[in-house]
Amino acid sequence: MNCNPHANKFVLSALVFILACATCGAHQADAIPESRRIKPEELVKILQTSSGENPLIIDVGSHVLYSQAHIPGSEYIGPAATTDGLQQLRKRVQSAPRGKFIILYCGCCPWAHCPNVKPADEALQTLGFTNVKVLYIANNFGSDWVAKGYPVAKGD
């Protein structure tokens, strides 16, 4: 096969560009390093263990979704994608020790599309918190938590 090297280079560049476009932008939560993520099953174990420090669990998503079902003991702050939500988050943790074990979660949309967890995580990193984990919810809170029979509370 006789291929034009310039054409090949163009095709290759175009594919790399398309690939780059496909993998960035929408996937902001993907920028949260693995080391700061916690899986649902890991959090369930922590919730079931009476010993050790109780984490402060903060919901940074939609209130309508939180009212239907949330992690027992978690506190609703507001969507961290909004200025108000971020302010509420900063206010809630301002007096907490910087080593406090904090778990952030949302579950409104698939992980790659969640607009809330990354701004919340960034805000806590900026404030100097050193023990923050973000609950990795692959699809949504319904399928990755409630449908698995993990503990749930309702209401405000």
């Binding site: 290759l12 209130h63 599309h113 699809n139």
Partner: protein, 187 residues
């Protein structure tokens, strides 16, 4: 030359994989005629100051879409829904949006910005529970003219699949009950 071909092939495979991943969704479907549950009726405030009652649309094929302005996959599928509503309005398709936003201000802005041509109501936790828990967005229900739930789609909608389902429901309507071409909904 060979290595370039391999790179191109590899990149193509990754792109196809990412595309499939982005459009993957959970779909629960009930074929026409099988046992289906009735879509729970509700009355919700619409964003134009009125009330929206689901049972008012009995006789139409209804696509009930739970969404929110902050949900990126929801935003992406809205233009497709606007197009579907235009294309199938005369045949009896009625799309209904139920926003799960906490506040209606961004919903009104979104409605204008995207020139939404179907009614949008403000949802709440109660309707979420009524529909088995709307604990992630988007979630869409396709409702048959008799009011039964034909399919539930969790995640971003594959428009081709949902369009095929809509046509399947149209085909299941007896000819004498199909709307005449001049009959249009003003919603």
């Amino acid at each position: 030359m060979m290595s370039k071909k391999l790179v191109i092939g590899f990149a193509a495979v990754i792109i196809v994989f990412l595309f499939m991943l982005a459009h993957s969704r959970f779909r629960e479907r009930h074929p026409p005629g099988s046992h289906r549950s009735l879509a729970p009726d509700f009355v919700l405030p619409d964003i134009n100051g009125g009330n929206l009652q689901l049972s008012d649309f009995r006789g139409k094929v209804v696509l009930l879409d739970f969404w929110a302005t902050w949900c990126e996959p929801c935003r992406e599928e809205t233009p497709h829904f606007v197009e579907l509503q235009d294309r199938y309005r005369d045949q009896g398709l009625q799309i209904i949006g139920v926003s799960m936003d906490d506040d209606d201000t961004p919903v009104r802005q979104f409605y204008k910005q995207f020139k939404v041509n179907y009614p949008v109501a403000m949802g709440n936790a109660k309707i979420g529970e009524l529909y088995g828990g709307i604990l992630g967005l988007p979630i869409a229900f396709l409702i048959a003219p008799d009011g039964s739930i034909h399919a539930r789609h969790d995640g971003a909608v594959n428009i081709d699949i949902i369009e095929a389902e809509i046509n399947e429901l149209f085909a299941s309507i007896p000819r004498e009950k199909r709307p005449s071409p001049s009959a249009e909904s003003n919603h």
